[in-house]
């Protein structure tokens, strides 16, 4: 008994130092030298300013202002609306505004919940209002599922290629480009499946929008 207690106490302390300090510090050290970009979150800078992480999704909506210049609020939440000249990310329901990457959360919308149907219906309405004027053939049945449902992390950096191709009509009109030029960019920023067979191809929204800005100049 005493022997077990002594060994347990020494053991837990020694193993805690080995596995809880030495191991993570060694991994950190090697990672910072060998893969500094990845280890620090693949930060994206524009003109020296940090605009986000390549692999963390972000919102491309703008804050709606009241006439007095203050942000408009409804039910204590700041109202935002999609910036039509940017590709829009998937809906996100993190607390404290969409795409809050300091507090990731699941939306936990059940498959048989009325609330899920209502949330979907609202996202569908918004998606149609945004895109149908530029893509007259668009209907609810043609909307890719990812475009109107929240992701697992609520920080999904990607959208489906089908979603991007629908939005490409709007982007082309807003930026006075031809649809084929925008489609070309979409293809360029579409990640293939893992090892060629696993997962789904996805379009990195931040990279795509940055490429658009570079093409047509600035965020003005």
């Amino acid at each position: 008994m005493r022997r077990d207690i002594v060994t347990s106490v020494i053991g837990i302390v020694v193993l805690t130092v080995l596995l809880g300090l030495v191991y993570p510090l060694v991994i950190t050290g090697v990672s910072q030298v060998a893969f500094p970009g990845n280890a620090n979150g693949q930060k994206v800078y524009v003109n020296g300013k940090l605009v986000g992480s390549k692999i963390i999704g972000q919102s491309f909506k703008t804050v709606v202002l009241e006439k007095n210049g203050k942000p408009k609020e409804e039910e204590k939440e700041v109202v935002t609306e999609a910036d039509p000249k940017y590709f829009q990310s998937r809906p996100s329901a993190t607390e404290g505004g969409a795409y809050n990457a300091a507090a990731s959360t699941f939306s936990n919308r059940g498959p048989n919940d009325k609330a899920t149907e209502e949330a979907d219906a609202e996202n569908i309405k918004e998606y149609l209002e945004l895109n149908k004027p530029y893509d007259p053939g668009l209907a609810t049945a043609k909307i890719p599922v990812d475009a109107v449902s929240t992701s697992g992390s609520n920080l999904d950096p990607e959208i489906s290629p089908a979603n991007a191709r629908i939005q490409a009509h709007r982007i082309a009109a807003k930026r006075q480009l031809s649809v084929s030029v925008v489609d070309g960019l979409v293809s360029k920023y579409t990640d293939a499946r893992g090892l060629g067979f696993s997962g789904e191809p996805g379009v990195n929204v931040l990279e795509l929008n940055l490429a658009l800005d570079r093409l047509t100049g600035g965020t003005a």
Partner: protein, 590 residues
């Protein structure tokens, strides 16, 4: 459903089997004290650790002594983890260890969390990004990810020694087994795995959270941390507790479809390998193949059902007018709560991989799975870790079922049941039976208590109306009793209005009940498994005769699957009907 989806599933199983076999042989050598290719590197540190820990590795332990060491060591781990988590904002903790100055979570949540990590459950009422300091994650949670995994593995090894033991009482030495597990198995794979994950985009740093100014002029705060080192052992040790709240759905934990494959492989590799270890240590590899076949059949069944169900989409989506089939440029399906890069197949497969094992990591929101898709994790948990299961726990769980199956088979043919030459008698069957019943008992009892009381129903989420609320509750206790840790995450035991725990409080009923369930359903079956080993180790071996029922052929595989399904179904079917089955079959919205 897509061709690439099915291909992912098939290739995953093939690669897994190809890797698990050599690892299984390697582990058999490690626990048999044979020389392996890592011996030149680790022989010295191994001896050094024995010296520091004052362990005589040659001291042989009977089952009681082995169990005593295990319990006392786990208790020491429990106490240290509690202290670490409760003092994460104390004056002596350096700023770099807690750059966001997070306070400690209250006692009840900490009780749950500590019990959860020491039992290899990693059920999380807290959210990593808004609760834990970097030091708590490393020094506390990562360490228990290693050690609780090690404790599970050594029990399986001890049980095998009991089964094959020719005479005497010894099950080996707990400390030696634990040290070897850490040095020769978990350590090296973790180092390689962590670096592989970073090379693909997982993060590993001690920066404070980033503030970015997005293209549309909004500020975005981005969580950071030493993620990869914890991520890999969370999977490899079938622990499952994510660095971040959304676990392996988070792009910093699981950045690409390729890492998704790697992560699933890490989860299953040791549980699968141990089956081959068992075959090798019993001196009859076919014994291992038979168990592997049993597990694989049930595993594939679960994957197929989950994938088909999720590819179909949910009633709520159809009611909203969405068409969820595959179109050009979109895989379709129920993408609510799923990441684009994984798609439906990568999410369904991950879900099955982590719920058959006791991993409980998730890369998608289980609560948003369709009724039938969501019933799959329920069914997996109902099988009480016999389909691969947790590291070690899976093997000893299925071996208890093997004992039961041999006994039932013996009764059917009217002969004294024999297993690997050893006669099974009333004592072993009683011990195995009790060991098998503890987990379901804990799950159902706790669920009944939680649904029947106001204090229990307080944990059900706002959206969890009707059967969803029951599903959340049942899943919570099923997951905790199986030491799994995945969740229908709407169920809550922690109210946290602000990041960093200012003004937060726990839900005492859910926290304490859950904590007790985890401890009871972890150490109970473990002790029974060791007791079975103790009862078997001294038995004389008689050579197999003509009438001996074989445990390495197809007939036995069918019998074993039958026993597992029968016990699981009889215990849990009524409860499952009230939740996920109702939702899956009716398509009704609540």
């Amino acid at each position: 459903m897509t061709f690439s989806g099915w291909l992912t599933i098939v290739l995953f199983v093939v690669i897994l089997s190809a890797l698990a076999m050599p690892l299984g042989s390697y582990m058999a050598k490690v626990y048999g004290g044979e020389r392996v290719f890592l011996t030149p590197i680790f022989a010295w540190p191994e001896r050094f650790l024995y010296k520091v820990l004052r362990v005589d590795p040659k001291r042989e332990q009977d089952w009681k002594s082995y169990a005593k060491s295990l319990i006392i060591f786990s208790l020491a781990g429990w106490l240290l983890l509690y202290v670490i988590l409760r003092t994460q904002d104390a004056f002596f903790v350096p700023h770099a260890a807690n750059p966001l100055a997070y306070h400690s979570a209250p006692w009840n949540v900490t009780f749950n969390t500590v019990s959860s990590f020491v039992t290899n459950t990693n059920w999380q009422y807290y959210s990593g990004d808004t609760t834990m300091s970097y030091l708590s994650q490393m020094l506390g949670l990562t360490v228990q990810n290693f050690l609780s995994a090690g404790v599970g593995i050594v029990v399986a090894v001890a049980l095998i020694r009991g089964i094959v033991g020719r005479s005497g009482k010894s099950l080996g030495n707990f400390w030696q087994d634990l040290v070897r597990t850490v040095l020769y198995v978990l350590g090296p794979i973790s180092v390689l795995g962590a670096l592989l994950l970073v090379s693909q985009g997982a993060i590993q740093n001690f920066s404070t959270y980033l503030t970015a100014h997005t293209l549309t002029g909004v500020t975005q705060s981005i969580a950071m941390g030493p993620v990869a080192s914890q991520e890999v052992i969370k999977l490899l040790g079938t622990n499952g507790g994510g660095f971040f709240n959304v676990n392996s759905a988070h792009p910093f934990e699981n950045p690409t479809a390729f890492t998704n494959l790697v992560e699933m492989m890490l989860v299953l590799i040791i549980p699968a390998a141990l089956v081959f270890t068992y075959g090798r240590m019993t001196g009859n590899r076919r014994q291992g193949y038979a168990i592997y076949a049993t597990m694989m059949v049930m595993f594939l069944g679960a994957v197929v059902v989950a994938y088909i169900a999720e590819a179909h989409g949910s009633p709520a989506q159809h009611a909203a007018g969405l068409h969820t089939h595959v179109i050009s440029g979109s895989g379709g399906g129920n993408m609510e709560g799923k990441e684009q890069r994984f798609g439906v197949a990568g999410s369904a497969l991950f879900d099955v991989v982590t719920t058959v094992t006791s991993c409980g990591a998730v890369n998608s929101a289980l609560e948003s799975f369709t009724g039938i898709g969501g019933a799959v994790p329920f069914a997996n948990l109902s099988a009480s870790e016999t389909i691969f299961g947790g590291v070690g726990t899976g093997l000893y769980s299925i071996l208890l079922y093997v004992l039961l199956a041999v006994f039932i088979g013996g009764l059917m043919v009217g002969r004294t049941p024999e297993w690997l030459g050893k006669k099974l008698e009333a004592k072993e069957i009683k011990l195995a039976g009790l060991g098998i019943l503890i987990t379901p008992l804990a799950a159902l009892f706790a669920t009944a208590l939680a649904t029947a009381s106001h204090a229990g129903r307080a944990s059900i989420s706002e959206l969890g109306k009707g059967p969803q609320g029951f599903s959340e509750t049942l899943y919570a206790y099923l997951s905790q009793s199986n030491n799994n840790g995945s969740a229908f995450a709407g169920y809550t035991g922690f109210i946290q209005p602000n990041a960093g725990n200012v003004g937060s409080h726990g839900v005492t009923f859910a926290d304490v009940l859950g904590g007790l369930v985890m401890l009871f359903a972890r150490f109970g079956p473990m002790l029974f498994a060791l007791a079975v080993a103790g009862a078997l180790v001294g038995k004389r071996v008689t050579p197999a005769g003509l009438g001996t029922m074989r445990t390495d052929n197809t007939t036995f595989v069918v019998l074993l699957i039958g026993v597992v399904i029968l016990v699981g179904a009889l215990t849990f079917f009524p409860a499952l009907l009230l939740g996920p089955v109702v939702q899956g079959l009716t398509g009704h919205l609540y």
